[in-house]
Structures are given as structure tokens and as C-alpha cells.
């Protein structure tokens, strides 16, 4: 498929003054989706997100039209998201895809937690994340596209099944599954959960802070503490382990921001439960990615080496269990 040509043909429907697309370039990363950056000749900066031709859809991933609908649904609540410009139709010749405005900022966690350029926005970032999550969690569920509901117990059961299938013998995961199952909080009132709210999916501007929540493919209905815990998983603190919220802030700032913006009260205990479950999930995901190497589906060194990141989640879990 000639994506740049299809984008040029679509240009007049993306912006009234445009006649063609320029600078179309596929960005690296994203195994299940393709991301293309391009401009229109009237200067509009855009992003195309599309399902690769013939690409298998992972069981957990949402249809792209659902992602687009969620971004449109949370925007009026005050959650910063890229504006959706078009959900593609088959006549557009791009397959399953949508187009959104391109934001100007940084998603690389390593830079966000360390670079001098972000030192002015870092102190307020954890509170802002709490506020934005409260806005997402307050989205009315009526009118949302169909979404799965999951609670702590069902998430644990799902990942334990995957772990058992891996054939791995990992005592930390065995202990963590039992420890967390005993403490799994009931789901009181399901809310819209982003499902992957962490460094990498947050667009940060050196001047304006959090300007975009990206990558809605794991959104579902669930416990608001799931999103609050996930951003505190040590794997995305990029070495800044003393700042539990994404390597840039403190638990209390995140919880205060969430509460101040109208979020239902979440205790630190409940957040820490979901943080530990998050570490366990990421550890099992590392084993899943390694499994595609072991099965022969993808014999790359990258797929093999990701398995060696499971131990980082084990050391984090041991610390969470021991304290």
C-alpha cells in the first residue's frame, strides 16, 4: 500500500485549504499499529495511526475507531488528547486507520525524568497526572463504544493463566499471585480506565507539561486506582526510583490531584496494590514477548532479550512484598 499517496488524496478532506500531504514518514516502534507523521501543504501537522495490512490484531487491542471515539469522548472533560481529524473509511484507501493532530512535545521517559529542559514542569507533573486521570475517569459511560470490564481478580486470573502457559518456574511470581489474590479489592463503580497511562504514552511539553494522553488501545472499564498504580511501576521511572510517580513525582501529589479534580478517593494502599499488580503484569508480558522467540515466531535478539527484563519486576515485587 502506498500510504503517502493515499494521504495526499485524502488531504482536502483533512483540512479545507489543503491539496496534498508532504513529509510522510513512518515512525519506528509499535508492533501492532503503524504510526505515520505527515504535514498538509497548508501547514497542518498530523499523525496517521493504522493497522498494518494483514496485521494480526492482538486479543487485547481495541478497534482503531474505538480509540478515536474515546479520544473524542474524554476531550470535553478536559483531558488533553490529540484532536481526531478523521476516522478513515474504506474509500480512503488506508485500511483501518484514523488521523489526528500532531502535538509538539516529548514522550521519552528518560528525557522527561532527567533533562534540564523539563525541570520547570516536573514538580507539577504528578499532580497534573492525577487531575487528568480524574477527568478521564469521570467520562460518562453512556455513548462510549463497547469496552470490556475487568477488576483486580479477573486481571490476576488472566495473567496467571498466561504465566502458567509460559512454563516458567518463578517463585516471585508464584508468591505475588497468591499475595495479590488475597488482597484484591472489589470493583465498586467501573469507570473508563486508560489502561496504559505511563511514560512513553504521555506527551510532555517543556513549557506546558502534560499536553497529550496517547495510545488508547488498552482502554477498558475498571478500577480508577489501576491507572494511578500503573504510572508508579518502577519500570517506567527510568532510574529515578525515589520519585514513584513516573520518576518525576510523589504518591501524595498524584492522589491529591486526582481528588482535587473530583476523583473518587483512592487510598495509597489501593494504589500500591495496583502498582504491584502492574509490576507483575509487566513481568508476565516480558515472558510473553520472549515466548514469541521460543516458539520460533520471531527469532530476533530483541525478543529473546526482553525475557531478561522479567527479573526487574521480580526485584520490585520482592521490595513491595517485604515492606
Amino acid at each position: 500500500m502506498d500510504v503517502p499517496a493515499a494521504l495526499s488524496a485524502l488531504a482536502p478532506r483533512l483540512s479545507p485549504g489543503a491539496t496534498r500531504a508532504t513529509n510522510a514518514r513512518r515512525l519506528s516502534g509499535g508492533a501492532s499499529q503503524e504510526t505515520w507523521t505527515f504535514d498538509l501543504d497548508d501547514g497542518t501537522p498530523l499523525i496517521l495511526r493504522r493497522r498494518p495490512t494483514g496485521g494480526a490484531m492482538s486479543a487485547a487491542a481495541l478497534p482503531l475507531s474505538t480509540e478515536a471515539a474515546l479520544q473524542a469522548a474524554v476531550a470535553p472533560r478536559g483531558a488533553p488528547v490529540p484532536e481526531v481529524v478523521r476516522v478513515c473509511e474504506s474509500a480512503d484507501g488506508l485500511g483501518e486507520a484514523y488521523v489526528m493532530r500532531r502535538l509538539d512535545g516529548e514522550t521519552l521517559g528518560k528525557r522527561i525524568v532527567r533533562d534540564e529542559a523539563f525541570s520547570a514542569v516536573r514538580p507539577g507533573l504528578a499532580r497534573r497526572c492525577g487531575e487528568v486521570l480524574a477527568a478521564i475517569h469521570a467520562t460518562p459511560l453512556d455513548g462510549l463504544p463497547p469496552l470490556a470490564t475487568s477488576d483486580a481478580a479477573s486481571e490476576l486470573a488472566r495473567y496467571e493463566t498466561v504465566y502458567r502457559q509460559s512454563g516458567a518456574q518463578r517463585p516471585v511470581f508464584e508468591a505475588a499471585f497468591r499475595w495479590l489474590a488475597d488482597r484484591a479489592p472489589p470493583l465498586e463503580r467501573p469507570v473508563l480506565v486508560h489502561g496504559d497511562f505511563r511514560n512513553g504514552n504521555l506527551m510532555i511539553s517543556p513549557e506546558a507539561g502534560l499536553i497529550g494522553v496517547l495510545d488508547w488501545e488498552l482502554a477498558h472499564l475498571g478500577d480508577p486506582a489501576e491507572d494511578l498504580g500503573w504510572i508508579c511501576v518502577n519500570s517506567w521511572r527510568f532510574g529515578e526510583w525515589r520519585r514513584p510517580v513516573g520518576g518525576f513525582g510523589d504518591y501524595q501529589d498524584l492522589l491529591d490531584g486526582h481528588a482535587a479534580a473530583g476523583g473518587a478517593p483512592v487510598s495509597l494502599d489501593r494504589l500500591l496494590f495496583w502498582q504491584a499488580l502492574g509490576s507483575l503484569k509487566w513481568g508476565v508480558m516480558c515472558l510473553m514477548m520472549y515466548a514469541s522467540f521460543a516458539s520460533g515466531a520471531d527469532r530476533s535478539i530483541e525478543r529473546a532479550m526482553i525475557g531478561r527484563r522479567a527479573s526487574e519486576t521480580e526485584i520490585d515485587l520482592v521490595l513491595l512484598m517485604a515492606t
Binding site: S28, F177, A294, I301, M321
Partner: protein, 121 residues
Amino acid sequence: MITHPSAAELTEALKAVQTGPPGDARAAFIARVADNARATLGREAALGPAAEAAAVERLRDLLALDGNFATLNEELCARLADGRLAPLNPAVLAHLKISLVDQIAIDQPGYSGLAALEAAS
């Protein structure tokens, strides 16, 4: 001792790595991953045997059983899974802490979880 992937699997994956064209971002990324894998294999060769021998000693005491690492580790997993050992059993946690410190020293010696664990104990 370490599996998913084992050292043998890493060695095999490294053999299949091909040099990409200069300036290619994907090839440069793969080259960095390959360098990491070689460094991991070096650390595992240097540190793995002593770590495994120490783990076997700890597991024999903890489980009151004899056997090699794989057998004893599997037994520990089974006892944790069926509740014969509690997840917060202090002797289990003590063993797991030492095991993880040893494994992180091989897999990712710069990982911050190591410093966090040391600061807490």
C-alpha cells in the same frame, strides 16, 4: 539456572544477528541489544555458577530437601502455589531477595530496583 531465555538461547539469537546498513535506526537498535546480550552472557559466565551454588544451599535449608537447582526451585514454586508456603514467609522472602540481587547483577546491573532494595534493608 536462568531461563526464559537461557544463555544457550541468547547465544543462538546472537549468531543470527546481521549487520544492517550504516545509518539505519532499526539496525543500530538491534546492534545495541546484541551488545547488551553479549555483556549479559559475560556476566552470567562469571557470576552464574557461584550464584546457583549458593541458591541450592539456601533452598536445601528452606525446603529440607536435596536436589539440583531446577528441582528445588520447582518445589519452591509448587509450595507457594498451593499454599504450603505463605507468600510473605520471612525465610522465603530472604531467599528471594538474595536470588534477585544475584540475578539482577547478571541481567541488568544498572537497574534501579537494586538500589531501592538495598536502601530498604
